[in-house]
């Protein structure tokens, strides 16, 4: 059989380009979609995601805002309530704390407090995570905090495919959706399969099948976890790697199904372990799959310190592939 020569070729793009393609396509597809945030228009975004879009699409659609997170997130909520489909970009999750009142007390609560009369179809994109020596005020992984809040949907695309395709269903969702882009992923290259024209924002994905231990992770830790799985394979341990993709609501069906096969679970999260998303997942596995477990649930998380500036300390504070492999190995091999 000869392949149809007219079919589009798979495309190599960076994660950053995939984000841009998603924003551009959404704005072109729907006149209600606008993007706003600090330095997104003339500067092109602090991580250059929106570079060139203002010139192409106009500053009505790509809008610079003052340095006031509470102000422009609130404006986004108002625009969503009034009928637009706004995308708000916050430079980093650390800065989103300035808008916490808008996000938690307004965006998440209004649909419920209005008895469903008002929807808040707002998307907030923000960078998260460490690894670029941006120190403690720009490097934290606080998406787990937002995953605590009923009324929000929390997405964490790790692959270029998810970066390209998770935005549109987030815009289509009538609830406020927060989309976390790990800073170390922007430069990562991947392949966009033209046959894939959309993805869900409901399910976790098994990125690597395995039979011996389940490694649950998301976002920036996915590739470290896959690297750990590869080194484990050379020792004869087959690790299954689950990319959560959606941090709220959690796709426990995929996680519990995997644990039922492997009987062992390690959760890898760049967030701190105390009171965390990893704790939540571990608790749910313990609640639902206790009798499937053949070993204690383990976690590999960041050290409980504000992320350091110095490169070696920063790397030492973060989960790394050897830590993940060692933790999984101890569960499988005993000792």
């Amino acid at each position: 059989m000869s392949a149809a020569t007219s079919a589009p070729e798979p495309q190599r793009v960076t994660y950053r380009e995939a984000c841009k393609l998603a924003i551009r396509a959404a704005i072109l597809a729907d006149p209600r979609v606008v993007l706003m945030g600090e330095d997104v228009a003339r500067y092109g975004g602090c991580y250059a995601v929106t570079k060139g879009l203002a010139a192409e699409l106009g500053e009505d659609r790509i809008r610079d805002t003052p340095l006031s997170e509470a102000g422009f997130v609130g404006a986004g909520i108002g625009a969503a309530l009034a009928g637009l489909r706004p995308i708000v970009e916050i430079m980093t999750v650390n800065f989103s704390l300035l808008a916490l009142d808008q996000i938690v007390n307004s965006a998440a609560a209004i649909p419920h407090m209005s008895g469903g009369q008002f929807a808040v179809p707002l998307v907030i994109r923000m960078a998260t995570g460490a690894g670029r020596q941006l120190a403690a005020q720009h490097s934290h992984s606080l998406e787990g905090w937002y995953a605590h809040i009923p009324g929000l949907k929390i997405l964490a695309p790790a692959t270029v495919e998810d970066a390209r395709h998770m935005l549109q269903p987030a815009i289509d969702d009538p609830n406020p959706v927060l989309l976390f882009e790990h800073v170390m992923l922007y430069g990562e290259e991947g392949t966009l399969d033209p046959a894939v024209t959309g993805v869900d924002i409901v399910s976790a994905r098994i990125r690597r099948p395995g039979s011996d231990v389940t490694l649950v992770t998301y976002g920036g830790s996915l590739f470290k976890t896959l690297e750990a799985a590869e080194s484990l394979r050379q020792e004869g341990i087959e690790a299954e790697v689950i990319d959560l993709r959606v941090l709220r609501p959690l796709d426990m069906t995929t996680i519990l199904g995997s644990v039922a096969r492997t009987h062992r679970a390690v959760i890898v999260d760049e967030g701190w372990r105390s009171g965390s998303l990893s704790a939540e997942i571990a608790a749910r596995i313990g609640e639902a799959s206790f009798y499937d477990l053949d070993a204690p649930i383990r976690r590999v998380c960041s050290r409980e310190v504000p992320i350091p500036y110095a490169a070696h300390l920063e790397q030492a504070a973060l989960p790394q592939a050897p830590d993940i492999a060692a933790t999984a190995r101890a569960l499988v091999k005993g000792g």
Partner: protein, 395 residues
């Protein structure tokens, strides 16, 4: 109330099967009494108790395989008669090495301690417990290979010879395959953890063999002294000058042995070996050492050794005998810090007084733990053994 625990009979022991109870509830026992027989990878071992008292409860049934440290039985105070409801008393962990018995606490003890609980439950994963329940497997009789020594699914799924109670007699003695695993585990640990240094010294045995010939001249073969007894005695006496080689490496530092208890490596028929102790060998006569060696060999190969004999050695000697190789480079048995190897006595050209003569010689080797001592000290030790073999003093 005292707990009597499954003892560890060596670095390579993780679990044992209770083969026989030699006491029953109500029996009075004294420190040193043999109260049970435990099947280990080294065969059936008689287990002594380290406390005086009255047996109040046998916790582990015959046939059960339990990890080291599991409560086997509970012991009440001597003064108390075994009542259906034993009086509450603070539970104290049974010391595994011999320690002086402390004075019994007054029987009117505060009623704060919990009553004797159910038998200690083996560490096992939830999934292993579910499978064991479905298949009717008794986890108490299994050893775990999972995290923290827990029983995991693989332990239940692995094909392993079942050990139902009726088959126990057939397994009496030892399982060579299991012993091979245990030796492998202990020796791997030794090579992994202990930085060995090795020394050797070849000794002229003319004087020692002449002494033996005189000593054995009028004796029937069963009473004759073998060269090995002289070597053991020379090692025992030489240790007085280098006590750094007699003891244990524990918790990051050297602990001197409480006496010179020489582990004597005995090859077992069917493979494997054990190294039970010749206690206080430095205080024994040559005949005394020979008698101890004969007794140990007999019991190691036929009847039973005692648990304390396996844990007592402060240093070990391996002697290859007259059918062995010329030299042996031993691997230290943790947590000991030294091991002496004795090769076969061979006749070799030897320089004596400036000319060459045919002489019986033996090569002594020392494996030392470099964390505890240096080659300089080890060399002095070998030289002292050699010196003592030149002038055998009575008795």
């Amino acid at each position: 109330m005292t707990d009597f625990l499954m003892p560890s009979l060596g670095a390579d022991m993780e679990a044992g099967t209770l083969a026989e109870w030699l006491v029953k509830p109500g029996d009075a026992v004294k420190r040193g009494d043999v109260v049970a027989v435990v099947e280990t990878d080294k065969g059936a071992i008689e287990i002594e108790i380290f406390n005086d008292g009255v047996v109040s409860e046998l916790v582990v049934p015959v046939g059960a395989r339990v990890p080291v440290g599991t409560v086997l039985a509970r012991l009440g105070d001597t003064a108390q008669t075994p009542a259906p409801k034993p009086p509450l008393a603070p539970a104290v962990a049974a010391p595994s090495p011999p320690t002086p018995p402390s004075a019994s606490p007054p029987s009117a003890s505060p009623p704060s301690a919990p009553p004797p609980s159910a038998p200690a439950r083996p560490r096992s994963s939830p999934a292993a417990r579910r499978l064991a329940a479905a298949r009717g497997i008794d986890l108490a009789r299994m050893a775990g290979s999972g995290p923290g020594g827990a029983i995991v699914l693989a332990d239940l799924e692995a094909p392993r010879p079942a050990a139902p109670r009726g088959d126990l007699a057939a397994r009496r003695g030892f399982d060579p395959a299991a012993m091979r695993l245990a030796i492998g585990s202990a020796m791997s640990r030794s090579k992994r953890e202990i930085p060995h240094y090795y020394l050797s010294e070849t000794i002229d045995c003319t004087a020692a063999l002449a002494w033996l010939e005189r000593r054995n001249r009028d004796r029937a073969p069963p009473e004759r002294v073998l060269p090995a007894a002289l070597f053991v005695r020379a090692v025992a006496l030489a240790l007085a000058k280098t006590p750094e080689l007699n003891g244990y490496w524990q918790d990051g530092h050297f602990q001197p042995g409480g006496g010179v208890h020489i582990g004597w490596a005995i090859a077992l028929r069917g493979g494997g070996l054990v190294a039970p102790a010749i206690r206080d060998a430095d205080a024994l006569s040559v005949d005394g050492i020979m008698a101890a060696m004969r007794d140990l060999v007999l019991r190691a190969r036929g009847a039973r050794l005692r648990g304390s004999e396996l844990t007592a050695p402060t240093i070990t000697i391996t002697s290859l005998g007259d059918r062995g190789a010329e030299a042996v480079w031993p691997i230290i048995y943790p947590p000991q810090v030294a091991m002496v190897g004795i090769g076969r006595i061979v006749t070799r050209p030897w320089v004596v007084g400036g000319s060459i003569a045919a002489r019986p010689v033996v090569t002594l080797t020392l494996a030392g733990d470099h964390r505890a001592s240096d080659g300089h000290l080890g060399g002095r030790f070998l030289a002292e053994i050699g010196r003592r073999l030149q002038e055998i003093e009575a008795p």
